[in-house]
Amino acid sequence: MSALDGDPGQLWAAADRCLVIADECDAASGALLGALSSATAGWSGAAAVQFAGVGAAHRRLLQTAREALRSLAVHTRGFADLLDEAQRELRRTQAQAREGRARLRGLHARERLAIQAGEEDARAAIGRLIEDTRGTLTGIDTRIAELEHRMLLARRRFAGQLDELLPPGMLADIERLWSTGGLAVMLGGAAGRLFQASKLLIGTARYGPGAFGRDLKALEEPLAKLLRGPGGTARVLADRVGVARRPPGGLTTALSPAEGKSPVLRRLLVEYEAATPGITDLVKGRGHDGLRDAADRAMGLIEVGGVLMLRGPGWAKVAGAVAVGSWAAWRIGGAMYDHKVTIADVGRRAKTDGSAVLGSQAGQEQLAKDIQRSKPVVRGAAALADDLLAESLIVDLTKIKPTPSIPNPLYGRVPTLSEHTDELVDRVTPDALAGVFGRQAPPVITPPPLPEANTPRPEPSRRITPPIRRAGPRLGASLSGRDLPIDGPSLLPRRQDVVQSPEQQW
């Protein structure tokens, strides 16, 4: 292999393809920038910050890849140009060498003829030409060696450029996004879901003041009635299709010793259990009058028919399921209609009380404490979500369904929520909740105004008796100018007799 080997045309074409691919990276970066701008324009908070950060990291890597591909195209073009020039020069030089060798052969032939003819002068002249031609051929060989050396250096430089094209650690940076990329957004969503679920469930149900609690209790019985029929049927049907293995209750439990011995009896008992709510509706009704009562009983009959159809072939099972579902929907809808006032009231109180309690410092402290207590539950739920997420993501990306006997290393690289839930829960502090829900200022206690009758009326200033007057009517009387002798000694100092001190003067 020579240093001058290679195909510049193929290199130029490859460089052009690299530029096209770099443009695709650029287009992806632009699309991502547009998405980030749209999202961050109307999104704030911790999840938004994480989203923007992860998006920016993706863009940086895309831009790095784009620049690497553009640099690759530039380096490849430069190397191809050098190679092309060197190959052209080699071809020119090789042609000169061929001509020189042919000339040398001719000169040697003429030299032999001159020796045979004894023409010493001609032989000497031909000998000088031979020496010149040999020198030219030596120069050509040197030129070819120089070309080889120059291209060898160019190859070394090009190989170095290829080696340094991608920044070190780029792949590790990208792989690190496996854990931070999806995780950031998911954690943001998980945080939001956690806050909202807490707000909805714990906040309203546990921290509601007495009236709301009473309403929940009032709703408890209707809710139980609401779910008993469909729920019981669902449980029994689940047992029927093998989803649940809880033994049926009532008559089935009483006959359970015999049930184990006869599969037919077991099936009949299961069907009886499943059809019991429908039979009850059919026979007793739901306590309504008129058309509503007739409809209740008809729907009961449909439920019984649906249960029986479930034992049939495929189409019958579908029809049976639709029948049982219709009956359940009728039951739930009817119960909701019957209790619409209570349900509406609960909704109203949930709105009022939930907001009020979660806006107070005491409510936020209690909620933070209970969320801390729920750490293991949150971690367990996240672990379950991790399994589902890993499976769905990997199957979605690789289009390969998981095979238990073949371990898939990708599973270990999917972000896991469960490792971060504790940290997340620790961030739920009363102050953080105050940031989410807001905190109302504690009420300022102001004493109520006293009734008008009990308010002590201030004495008018004109009714304040001067102390000197309070000394007695006689002294007061003696102080009135009317009772004083005009020429007698006066108890009050006369104006011209009062000597003021310097302070008093000031």
């Binding site: 292999m1 074409a13 490859a14 690299c18 992806a28 895309l62 969503g189 909202q196 309203t204 949930a350």
Partner: protein
């Protein structure tokens, strides 16, 4: 008022743009182009370096494409979750926050 600091519909609307940035097929195209460089270089250390680079660039762009797809999927999932909880919360609290 929104319960979250994001409009779920706005977040869902950017999902197509995220999908457009997924580098579908770019990794194999880049790898093929760089292998062509290795072929055009005529052997030697350039060809070895180009072959190595083809593998690395293909892997980098492949993983980056996977990342972008995950990012897009996660955004869609979050938008969906936000939308659902937003609807639930709005129904119960009527927009009070």
């Amino acid at each position: 008022m929104s319960y979250f600091a994001v409009d779920p519909q706005a977040l869902g609307a950017i999902a197509p743009a995220m999908r457009a940035a997924s580098l579908e097929g770019v990794d194999s195209a880049a790898s093929s182009a760089i292998r062509a460089i290795a072929g055009g270089a005529g052997g030697g250390e350039c060809a070895v370096a180009a072959t190595d680079l083809a593998g690395t660039v293909g892997k980098v762009l492949g993983v980056l494409g996977d990342q972008l797809r995950i990012f897009g999927t996660a955004t869609e999932l979050s938008a969906s979750a936000y939308g659902r909880v937003e609807g639930l919360a709005s129904g119960l609290f009527g927009g009070a926050r």
